[in-house]
Amino acid sequence: MIFSIFARSLRTTLQQKKMMSLLWAISFLFAFPGFWITHRTLNSYFGGRQVAGEWLHQFNLSYLLEMINDLPSLIPATNALFFGSALLFLVVTIFLTGGIVGKLIQAVSGDSSNGEGFAPSFFSLSGKFFFRILRVFLWTTLLSLVSFAFMMIGGYAGLITAALIAVWIMTSDITKIRLVSDDSGKVTKTYFSSFIWVMKNIPSVALVYLLNFFLLVMTFALYKFLDNALIANGILKIFLMVVIHQMFVFFRGAIRIQMFTSAILLWHAKLKTMASVASNPSENLLDEQTQPA
């Protein structure tokens, strides 16, 4: 059952081209200011110097350290920029998650022809569930931080931390799916009942997530292989490097979507029910009607 769910979810995920592109685009958009400022600073600092030409062949950390030493405000400024954009990115991702989960539920139930374009329904779902998903996120973060206590013990206790964090991620995914599909406002209650559900179904939930994790590892391995094989010492090769990098970011986003898709299918399969999507998702995405899977 799990493998067929996995295969089905992959097919569904791959159809979500707009969603995948959106995730990639926001990562690019939010990382861009940090990149651009660094790029400009390096270019103006080393302008006219031979440094860049040398770097094309071999990176020399000494030069970079000289720049950092010379521009003492650079590191704090970069940090502020980084944390600022990271925070914004986080908020935007939380915002988009409602749309992602909602649209995926529609896609899984085969109902994506609701007359509206992708964007309006996606963003209205995003807006509707923003605060609920934010609360789910806060729960997961809190529980994960608490789980780090095991890491302090040292040794193999670190594995408990890893296992717990995995459980919180699974729980939070199931919670989000249930909140969206039931249009429920009871975040805390749903979170803990999802936790119980995850623990009850831990073999199948863990297997689905392991398969997704394996997919991520394979994608990373492929990226690492290509990145290592390519020595970007010319304009064309640098372009190729960028393509490899951005492909990895794109697929990493896709795997995040795939995690949701497979979790939705698993949830539905376990319930032996499938929600039917209301015709007007902005009003009532899912009613309480259920039908056999």
């Binding site: 440094v51 860049a52 030409g53 094309l56 000494s62 010492n233």
Partner: protein, 674 residues
């Protein structure tokens, strides 16, 4: 327990402590001034070492000596009033002394007398020669009723009890689960009589140990389950029902240290030094979890004996012990040097985190500590008075070993290859020097160096200045210099002037200018190509030629913009300005390249500053580089050493675009919980 101790002491008193009959070297390598025959027993439960020794000390000077001075190093850990704790605030590296009763350490002299003669215990007086801290008990003085005449020896017998501290500054015991003891600076150690006075400094937080050479015999008794290692050759091991007695012997060293643990994995390996075919027996004592470093340590040991043999001279001892302390004691017991015993370690508590982060800490630490066997143990300079001769030479040797190890393909990067970025050890030392080039002077006495400059003065700037010297002289000459210095000064106590003499003698030149500027002053160099310009020379009009067949040149003066093509009839004027923004001078060269592939190397004595170079050629200058061979790594800014007319900026994009990718990946990781 106390009963047991008393019983043992009686045993010690009745047993005669004798010097062993074993010989390692046919001829003594050193003057053998301070020779100890020791007996010690470790009581692991109380962290106490009950011990006795007979010291045979020889007055090698022409002075009549009326008093003796001894270090009682362990008293540095006795209470918060010691100079060591006051200076360090109870911290050393990441270690921190914790307040529990058993964590403090001290040493009590139980009896001391001239063998078959005067009783000395009652004459012991604590002194504090370096500061006004009357509470410091790390140095004692004993006024003798009968002075020691030149060339005369004195034999002193002593019983003492050493309570080991919790290891936080490289001596002591670890957590019970690790069951690890590093017994260093554990016995009353006689000072060095030098220039008519005792050189016997208090134990300070920044400095290490200065001592005379001698022969050491150690008989160490431990519970049977303990494995013992020492900085000496194992002569014998006897076991009774519950105890093990190890007998060690070493010659021509300046210290005695040992370690014991019930958890060690012991591995022995013979390493051959290629140039002579001589073998050294290396004993590895690995704590639990550190076995994963075994192969790395083997490779390090094999390399270091051979590198150092090539660069400095022969390692004369038949043994080396490498101790890898427990994971939790990496920073407290790791990274310590003793003659023929070193402790290694890696920065991270997890053995695998090094590999993951691509760090070469095991290599860095092992090379460093082994280098101390040359600089400090054999070439026994005074770290307290000239720290750079000890830590600086050692760190330079470490840097050189890392570079060679990388060249030999054994590691990637110097300090590491962190996510694909080569973090060279040179970059690390420049990072230490660059922000504070004027803050202090390398050749200063340790206690005169500002605290925020100590690391730079003792470690990093010496690496940069010795590497600069090596680059300037060439590797072969530098090896000759180092061999000369080593051969002249091994088993003796050299000073900076002795190293300068070695440089001057080997090169046949006067290098005082170098040391005056970079060791005895805080002068700096910062070369810069401040501008490079090239423009077409207007054709000269009029008649040309000496014979009757003159040619007439017409006005052809429209300048062509920025064309790098060479036209046979065109000529270009290229003007290059080079300057030194620092206040030290350094002779160097400038490499100028032209569009047609020509290049010129100019010499610059560095005194005329700034300096202009002008060329009228058929081709434009396209780049200029001062110190193109990167000899002067002391240069405060290497990035301004070369200027190009048409810079290739893609090299920057290569890394900034990767940075963009990293940012994206970090953002994605951050939102893992969403």
């Amino acid at each position: 327990m106390l009963k047991k101790c008393i019983l043992f002491l009686t045993l010690l008193a009745t047993a005669t402590t004798v010097f062993s009959q074993i010989k390692i070297f046919d001829k003594p390598l050193s003057p053998r001034i301070a020779n100890y025959a020791m007996k010690a027993r470790l009581f692991p439960e109380t962290k106490i070492v009950e011990a006795s020794y007979v010291l045979n000390w020889w007055n090698a000077s022409n002075d009549t000596i009326r008093e003796l001075q001894f270090h009682l190093y362990l008293n540095a850990f006795k209470n918060e009033k010691s100079t060591f704790i006051r200076e360090s605030g109870g911290r050393h590296r990441s270690g921190e002394i914790k307040l529990e009763k058993e964590n403090w350490g001290f040493i009590d002299v139980l009896s001391m007398k001239v063998l078959d003669g005067e009783e000395l215990k009652s004459k012991i007086e604590f002194i504090h020669p370096d500061d006004d801290n009357a509470d410091d008990q790390t140095v004692i003085r004993i006024v003798l009723s009968k002075p020691i005449l030149p060339s005369q020896s004195i034999q002193i017998s002593c019983e003492f009890r050493s309570k080991l501290p919790r290891v936080y500054a490289r001596t002591g015991f670890s957590d019970d689960q690790d069951d690890f003891f590093l017994v260093g600076q554990w016995f009353p150690k006689i000072g060095v009589w030098r220039n008519g006075a005792w050189n016997c400094h208090q134990f300070h937080s920044q400095t290490e140990f200065f001592a005379d050479f001698g022969v050491y015999d150690m008989e160490l008794t431990v519970p049977k389950q303990y494995i013992v290692g020492a900085n000496a050759v194992l002569v014998n091991k006897k076991e009774t029902d519950s105890l093990a007695v190890y007998t060690f012997h070493q010659e021509d060293v300046i210290d005695a240290v040992w370690t014991a643990s019930s958890k060690f994995t012991e591995i022995k390996q013979k390493v051959t030094i290629a140039s002579t075919g001589r073998e050294v027996e290396v004993t590895y004592l690995l704590s639990p979890g550190r076995e994963v470093y075994k192969d790395r340590l083997f490779a390090i040991a094999t390399a270091m004996f051979n590198y150092f043999d090539e660069w400095y001279g022969a390692y004369p001892y038949p043994n080396l012990t490498i101790v890898d302390p427990p994971i939790n004691e990496t920073m407290t017991a790791g990274g310590m040097e003793y003659p023929t015993l070193i402790t290694t370690g890696s920065f991270f508590s997890s053995a695998r985190s090094n590999d993951f982060l691509g760090l070469n800490w095991p290599e860095v630490v092992a090379f460093h500590e082994f280098a101390h066997n040359y600089f400090q143990s054999m070439v026994a300079s005074n770290e307290f008075e000239e720290p750079w001769l000890d830590e600086g030479f050692t760190t330079y040797a470490e840097h050189r070993a890392l570079e060679r190890f990388e060249k030999d393909g054994k590691i990637s990067g110097g300090y590491g290859n962190i996510f694909g970025l080569n973090f060279s050890s040179l970059a690390y030392h420049r990072l230490s020097y660059l922000p504070r080039p004027k803050s202090g002077i390398v050749g200063e006495k340790a206690w005169m160096i500002p605290e925020n400059f100590y690391q730079t003065a003792a470690y990093s700037k010496p690496v940069l200045l010795l590497t600069t010297l090596q680059n300037y002289l060439g590797e072969e000459t530098m090896n000759k210099v180092m061999h000369t210095y080593f051969e002249r000064w091994k088993f003796r106590h050299p000073q900076t002037k002795d190293f300068i003499a070695a440089v001057n003698d080997v090169t046949g030149q006067d290098f005082n200018w170098f040391f005056e500027q970079f060791v005895y002053s805080n002068k700096t160099v910062d070369f810069e190509i401040s501008s490079i310009r090239a423009f077409e020379i207007k054709d000269q009009m009029g008649w040309f030629g000496d014979t009757e067949e003159k040619t007439f040149a017409e006005d052809n003066n429209e300048r062509k913009e920025d064309s790098t093509e060479t036209h046979t009839e065109k000529r270009y004027r290229s003007v290059i300005f080079v300057r030194n923004n620092g206040d030290a001078f350094f002779p160097t060269t400038i490499l100028i390249r032209f569009a047609n592939g020509d290049s010129v190397i100019e010499k610059w004595d560095g005194k005329e500053n700034p300096k202009q170079f002008t060329y009228n050629k058929e081709s434009k200058a396209i780049s200029a580089c001062v110190d193109p061979e990167k000899i002067i790594v002391l240069d405060l800014k290497l990035s301004n050493n070369a200027k190009v007319v048409d810079p290739e900026m893609a090299g920057i994009s290569r890394y900034t675009l990767r940075f963009l990718f990293w940012l994206q990946c970090m953002f994605q990781t951050l939102t893992m919980f969403v």
